[in-house]
Amino acid sequence: MATVAEHIETQDHAHGHGHEEHHEQSFIRKYIFSEDHKVIAKQYLFSGIIWAVIGGLMSLVFRLQLGFPEMDMAWLKPVLGQWVSLAPDGTGKLDPNFYLALVTMHGTIMVFFVLTAGLSGTFSNFLIPLQVGARDMASGFMNMLSYWFFFISSVIMFWSIFLETGPAGGGWVIYPPLSALGEANPGSQSGMTLWLVAMALFIVSSLLGGINYVTTVINLRTKGMSFDRLPLTIWAFTFTAILGILSFPVLLSAALLLIFDRSFGTSFYLSDIYINGHALPNQGGSPILFQHLFWFLGHPEVYIVILPALGLTSEIIATNSRKPIFGYKAMIFSMAGIMFLAFIVWAHHMFMTGMNPFLGSVFMLLTLIIAVPSAVKAFNYITTLWRGNIIFTPAMMFAIGLVSFFVSGGLTGIILGNSSLDIQLHDTYFVVAHFHLVMGAAAIFGMIGGVYHWFPKMFGRMMNDTLGYLHFWLTFIGVYLVFFPMHYIGIAGFPRRYYQWSGFETFNTFADLNAFMTIAAILAFAAQIIFIYNFIYSIFWGKKAPANPWRSNTLEWTTPINPGHGNWPGEIPTVYRWPYDYSKPGSESDFIPQNIPFSATPESNLPEENEMISEEKEIEKIEFNHNIPD
């Protein structure tokens, strides 16, 4: 480590700009208030995993309630306290209001804290500097600030779970007037206030992060790393960050107006409301306005969740198929297309608001167009796999699992995109099944695949493969067993957000299917314990990792096994080729890393690549402009 640091120091001083003033740092600066992108990435990863466990346990509690409505919950009393009410005979029931709070918190935690912060925060931070060839993020301080805003936001959200009136209970979409009036639901009292404060801080955190990601990709690429040589992961993270920069401020707007409605008596979203026969003073507001503002973020948000997972998958699939990614440019353009369309389809979440049917049909058309870039991506994954020398590492299994979920969940998206069908299926379990497959499970699989793939780079050790396969199969089967039957429940008309259905004779037919889904959910959750065990065990006692365990082309594998502050000892490698030269005809090795010049591989060069040899000298001559201080 010390030699690494010295190298960096001498190299930086040789270049005349003290990029890293590398001294021995105190424990606090090194591991807690760290400005190093790798440490911050790990902080995000650990926080994300903790949140995922909390969110997952919440889902088990409400799944138990849905699968076994007559169940005696008294055994949960020690954990849930007053939220389980005891009958005189000692049997316990889950409080219906707490059920709503659980659903709300599960959604909020999973969408924002796990799949936005945990996924983007981890992998954008970790991979962007390593894969573009930068010493660190554009602003290490902003990066640190971003994590600690997220941390404070997490603490506040966690605190809200322990309030006497419970955490927010208006659904993760917090539609007013339900979320605006404390009388509507106990969760809409202080729980909602804390939710809004936590989300405001969360937005600040994501904006700081997103600005940093984009700046790093644009400004801090190494020599020769032109845009057409960026790995698809970087493209995906960049598009994700742009989506966040453009859409999170709008959520802040929506939340801000809601805060004023709740706490300062304004009427942006409230009008003509009677409580117990008394009219509220609020006049002239429009609850639909909130939905427009919310979904203008909310829809891009689902792509903020899925795009990084798709980027990670592209990298994992190409590496482990030992083939160039099929349609590199098509992948970029389809992601760009998804990003663009993300901003003009939000109203397909609002077909039920009495929207003008003509407007509905416009949004329906735009929504269905998203199927095109999505299908291009699915097609390219499958054609990359096609006749590849596939190596089934655990990461590869999860990446293929993502493609499977993305395809099967995407199909129901085409159904739901049609306004006439959506009006029937909206607020049924069909929608729940759809988005859990296409963005929930798919994004989680991308994230877990990413952890398995980049674990050697993060911790210098390997994860256990056998446990990885076990984890994959149990999770993969478990997820399908939960969400496939859920489509039928939805078509049968089961509404979402209902505490129990046993009051309706019609719904008794499917009681066994609900019980089945609950058991499958428990199985899928249990499989995650294997992962967490494997993860923690491998950090300390896993096999030592080689420098390039997956024989991958991207730059992060040219760093030392445990990269120090500044990532590369000595000079940052120069990039000469795209990152997908796998199994190139003529080449002896089945991979050629990005930092190998064409002049070193005459046997495998294509004619146009031979012409590029003359450009190599120019690439090497590129001087960083030192008139622009870092």
Binding site: M142, T216, L220, F248, I622
Partner: protein, 194 residues
Amino acid sequence: MKTLETTMIQETKPILTVNKYKFIIWLFIITIIMLFASQTSAYLVRRAEGNWTEFKLPVIFWWSSSILIISSVFMYLAQQSAKKDNYGKLKTYISGAFLFGIIFLAMQYIGWLELQDSGIYLKGNPSGSFLYILTGLHAFHLISGLVVLLFAFVASYQLKIHSKSLIQIEVCATYWHFLDLLWLYLFVFLLYFR
């Protein structure tokens, strides 16, 4: 041979063309634009629905607008003096920019008092609530601008800003001019869509 080499060197362009802090400030400005774009479009959508009480903007907003423009001019002059290493003028102008920024905030506050005298409160018809939110949000961002300006102000008194070290004042000026333009946009918007 020698000429060939020199032309080669001239052709290779530096890879870094924009300073990263300038890039960051522009991205930050984009997020603020999105925030105000969403606010003003919410305003328009709500206004189109009817039940909208028209308001009259306080007269002092005209004066505060011109104060903010003057502050921006000072900022520009400060930047120019920094380029010429004219420390005396730099200090004067940057103090002027800072002072006029504070005067602007005070005038906005007086404007709010004027609004309350004319019977427009935060509570009540959304038109008035929006007016307070928009001006308040801008004031909040202007305070953040003053903090950035304060750092540049201190740096200029420590003689850390000069023709070879312009990044800080350029970033500061970009943000300050943006906040000026943002106010002018809001002012014209509120005048037109009352």
